[in-house]
Subunit: 228 residues, 2 copies
DNA sequence: TTTTAAATAATAGTATTACTATCATTGGCA
DNA sequence: TGCCAATGATAGTAATACTATTATTTAAAA
């Protein structure tokens, strides 16, 4: 892809931050290094103190950007969903055939992290890893209903909606287009995780980040579900 | 079901506990109340100290049973998987037709919590809620590979294996029987959660714990995937 | 160029968490 | 009766998840 500034396309709920991290050098450093550190340490071991030390700032300063590390996680995951939505829109804009669109959708998110990144301070490949390993913790919390009512998960919903429309275009009789869409994403991430850590729970293999088998599997599931 | 002692059928990896909680009154209280409290507080807010206070014991004593709360979570989730496996085996033992078996499998776990519980100190219905809300945290951790190598997730793998065999029996050409199985479980739990908390991410509705729509959806997906 | 406001740093402090350690008590069985 | 295993009581520690205060730097307006 060309190096258009995707960040102008990324709109994240303002409730997710206290001070826009994209708008300052330090803020971008927070985004950048929090992705790296959560991926490396895992969400539980990751702390604002460690992050502060890494970027040579202080805990208190990070708290001025994000209310707590859980909201930061939602921010990062939302970023990812928005990034995938952007890719899908970009890659399908010249396609009118719905079946072809679905194929592109699957390809887009399976290979999302391989696309030439356009935001210097976000490593999309590592962000994808993070979403695979820690993403579901963003919405499995006791505050889910309150957070949802504040619109914190809009990006994921929009993505699901986008895909569900294509599903309905392909097969108007398919009864569960939203479930199809979310299942596609959850399944994709789950099986990358399983292939890496719990191989007995899946049939695919992923070596050296080769996700080709995953793409084949998702298309196989999709085709059968939609009667193609 | 009759009140046969299912606990004799439940075999959990000995590495999951330091002292068998099923073998003492206090241990059973730990199981019982940890289920209730994790469901109520969420896993993050749940602590051994709160649990100790609830059962009128001490933190140190609980640490004599479980190494930490994360291992306790794996223990409880393993219990759930083992319980579902048991139900599936029981309910399918008189059925030879594979398609019918799959239908029973789906019915068994969708309605698992409605079966008359046979272990007095485990509320299976609440345990199912816990698995839906917190279950994935049991295997999304930085220690996953070490824990997996110790056999901590055997119960889930066995369950997946059980279902994958039926899938292969129905359609020997289906290329991803394990992915089918795990996806069935993950999807089931996800969509119960979505229906309750993020309804825009699913097509089904669940009011008053009526999971009938979920069963219909899972059968719909299963039939299409297996070409029935 | 100075003034000033905003951002960040430095530092400290608090309640809670996730443990570990030690010693006392109790209740059953040998 | 005595002993031992299980549990209780108590204390302590390092780390976490914050909040508060004051000092310093920086960047932009006057």
């Amino acid at each position: 892809m060309n190096n258009m500034n995707v960040s102008s396309k990324i709109s994240l709920n303002e409730g997710l931050y206290l001070k826009d991290p994209q708008a300052s050098e330090l803020g971008r450093k927070i985004i950048n290094h929090s992705i790296l550190m959560i991926d490396e340490l895992g969400f539980e071991q990751f702390t604002f103190k460690k992050l502060a030390s890494e970027i040579k700032s202080t805990e208190a300063t990070i708290y001025r950007y994000f209310k707590n590390k859980h909201i930061l996680l939602i921010y990062l995951v939302s970023w990812y969903w928005e990034w995938v939505s952007f890719l899908i829109k970009k890659n399908t804009q010249n396609t009118s055939d719905a079946q072809e669109k679905l194929r592109i959708i699957i390809h887009s998110f399976v290979f999302a992290s391989k696309e030439n990144p356009s935001v210097a301070y976000v490593n999309e490949s590592i962000l994808h890893n993070l979403v695979i390993s820690e993403g579901m913790k963003a919405y499995h919390t006791k505050n889910i209903d309150k957070e949802n009512s504040q619109g914190f998960f809009k990006n994921y919903k929009d993505l699901a909606s986008l895909v569900s429309e294509v599903v309905t275009e392909i097969n108007p009789d398919f009864a569960y287009p939203y479930a199809f869409a979310t299942n596609l994403f959850e399944m994709s991430n789950n099986h990358i995780y399983f292939a890496k850590h719990l191989p007995k729970l899946t049939d695919i293999e992923i070596k050296n980040d080769e996700v080709g088998e995953l793409e084949v599997m998702l298309n196989y599931f999709a085709d059968r579900l939609l009667g193609l």
